[in-house]
């Protein structure tokens, strides 16, 4: 069961501003202000504006804030949980990269131990007194999705009662220059649009509380939804380009559906990875159409609104799915005006939000090195 959500997003901190911004079709993409970017091209990104920049461990700060929110949303006070049954599963692709940049430049860096990828999870675990499993998932842009999948597995197999699961990533010169040099970026994110040119990076953190059903029932917890199934598969074709036929992405979705015991017809919404790069979106159109058939299920992408938040993306999209199921409303795909004919198999939601009741949703993520991961999420009640 999922009993709490916490969000630190470029649209605002907290579930409400995140959701309201998505429903309004708002984009948080702006010129980069948080670090030197005058020599970067493109230089637009979706930054978190309401978390102080004085904390250079931004991913850790995002993760801790999102985890704290999620616990409060779940009505959980850490001391009320057996520490050995309280766990953390986080995805990130950059970890303490701002600290790393400074340290490598020869600057004195406080809290240098927060450089590694595992550091945000350690920060959360120490702050909240977790004594159960603590792991960092490293599946590039599918990290957040796989973190929630691992959390669900831990709870299902009785390894723990409560997991803070999600992802956090930050913007910095390292990553913006990197995606720019791959020619994967654009000034505007336009997922699935005929005129899309590339992705726009974002930052933030999203964490959900994955909780054992009996544990949640004993304390009378309000449910936000459930993880019904998880799946993963590799392309095994190319390090940076997705398989054009979307075979790995389709197999990950199919595996998650099989894990949930659901047919594709039972899925009422798909949150696409939808980065806005020509190859990714075309690949996903093939994969989603292959699994669900042409135009059978509403699809959107939130990367036009909050950018591509890398290791956090899948966690944001899991929260999105829970909100879509709870509210019966699918936010529009910000940045999408004219769907690419190559994506004609998708029933894309754009322009306006769409009222749409559904019991289950799929979130799909893909990343460098050919990784794919998918979640099936269920509506509460």
């Amino acid at each position: 069961m999922i009993t709490g959500c916490g969000v630190v997003s470029p649209l605002g901190t907290g579930l409400r501003p995140f959701w309201q911004g998505l429903v309004a079709g708002r984009s948080a993409v702006q010129p980069i202000a948080g670090f030197r970017a005058d020599d970067l091209e493109p230089r637009a990104a979706a930054e978190v504006r309401d978390v102080p920049r004085t904390d250079l461990d931004r991913a850790g700060a995002f993760a801790l804030e999102a985890a704290t929110q999620a616990l409060a949303d779940a009505g959980l006070d850490p001391p009320s949980v057996d520490p050995g049954r309280l766990a953390v599963a986080l995805g990130t692709t950059l970890g303490g990269m701002r600290l790393f940049e400074r340290w490598l430049d020869g600057d004195a860096v406080d809290e240098i131990e927060r450089v590694p990828y595992y550091a945000p999870a350690v920060r959360v675990a120490r702050a909240l007194g977790c004594g159960g499993p603590v792991a960092t998932l490293q599946l590039a842009c599918a990290s957040g999705t796989q973190a929630i999948a691992l959390a669900a597995d831990w709870v299902r197999t009785g390894r723990t009662d409560v997991v803070l699961a999600g992802g956090a990533d930050l913007l910095c010169r390292f990553v913006v220059a990197g995606f720019n040099c791959l020619r994967a970026t654009a000034e505007e994110a336009r997922p699935f649009d005929a005129a899309r040119r590339g992705l726009v990076l974002g930052e933030g953190g999203a964490v959900v509380v994955v909780e054992d059903a009996a544990h949640a029932a004993r304390r009378g917890a309000r449910l936000r939804g459930s993880v019904l199934g998880v799946g993963a598969a590799a392309d095994a074709t190319h390090m940076t380009a997705p398989d054009r036929e979307g075979r790995g992405a389709a197999r990950a979705i199919e595996a998650a559906l099989a894990d949930a015991g659901l047919t594709p017809a039972r899925i009422g919404f798909v949150s696409a990875h939808g980065t806005g790069t020509p190859y990714n979106d075309a690949m996903e159109a093939v994969a989603i159409t292959r699994v669900f058939g042409p135009r059978n299920v509403p699809v959107n992408s939130i990367k036009g609104a909050i950018g591509h938040t890398l290791g956090a993306a899948g966690a944001f999209e899991a929260v999105l799915c829970l909100q879509v199921l709870a509210e019966g409303l699918v936010p529009p795909t910000a940045g999408l005006a004219t769907p690419d004919p190559a994506c004609a198999g998708l029933d894309l939601v754009y322009g306006e939000p769409r009222s749409h009741a559904a019991d289950a949703a799929v979130s799909t993520s893909s990343g460098f090195a050919g990784v794919n991961a998918a979640l099936v999420l269920g509506r509460a009640g």
Partner: protein, 330 residues
Amino acid sequence: MSLAVAVTGAGTVVQDADDSRSRHASGALVIGPDGSVPLGHLPEGVRARAVRAERVTQLLLAAGDRAINGAGIAAPETRVGIVVGTAFGCFLTNAAYQRRLAAEGPAGASPRLFAATVSNAAAGELAIAYRLAGPSVTVSAGAASGLAALGEAVEVLRAGRADVVVAGGVDALGGALADWLTAAGLSFGAPPVEAAAALVLERPGRVRAELGRIAGHAIGFEPDPAGPAAGGGLAGAIAAACADAALSPPEIAVVVSATPPALVALETRALVATVGACQPRRTKPALAATGPLGLLAALGEAKPGVPVLVLDVCPSGHVAALVAWTREAA
């Protein structure tokens, strides 16, 4: 009782030919005196990719090839998964990329290097090289990453998400990482050695030969590993791993660990609370490869048909425990 998983292949790369952990059935590859990773055994196409790859990928390809060939994987490619544990992943690549970016500006940003600045690059290269298209997971839990990966691989098999999983731990060492370890005060007692260990894991019953079986696993966390009361996280992990293996902790015959001296008191408290007073067999720290190498050493050295407990304890607070059975006597 949860399913025990068979270890059917192993490949390792170590720095020291005399390292006792090289005494597993498949032998070990040894890093050259000039620091070169042994790649000569790789098939030509794989070797060509490996030569161009970053060091952590080279280490995993070298070990993975040996493990895959030793096991003789017969499953369809979509039924073979990969789970890799790494403490620091692409740290050295990050440093190389960032230094050029800092020195030359965005014009110095290298697409080749940037593409390898994801910690799952090594797993991705292994997947491409051997057409392994099942689930691919890379996990980091500090120096407990290797055992965490083996545990996750066991769960992939138990859940039926793959028929075979290539799993293990790898970390590349070098100047930038050594400097950072010193600056961060992350002490392992002895300087960690560079190593990779890849194991092939399969559901029992369909395998030709086994090196042993993994019966239980767990990871945990010590919020204050240097504190006087630390040990609860590791004790919990030991108890959970033993329960997973349907064993009572005192039944453990051999304990293997590379716990840093500063954390031995923590480990002792955890062992006394679970297994009982005992003297673990000490191995060298090798970051994420520590646990998998310790497991292979135990499977090769301990008496036939006994349960062994392998521990990883990292100054970061990450801990892991894994219970395995040595191969029955012929």
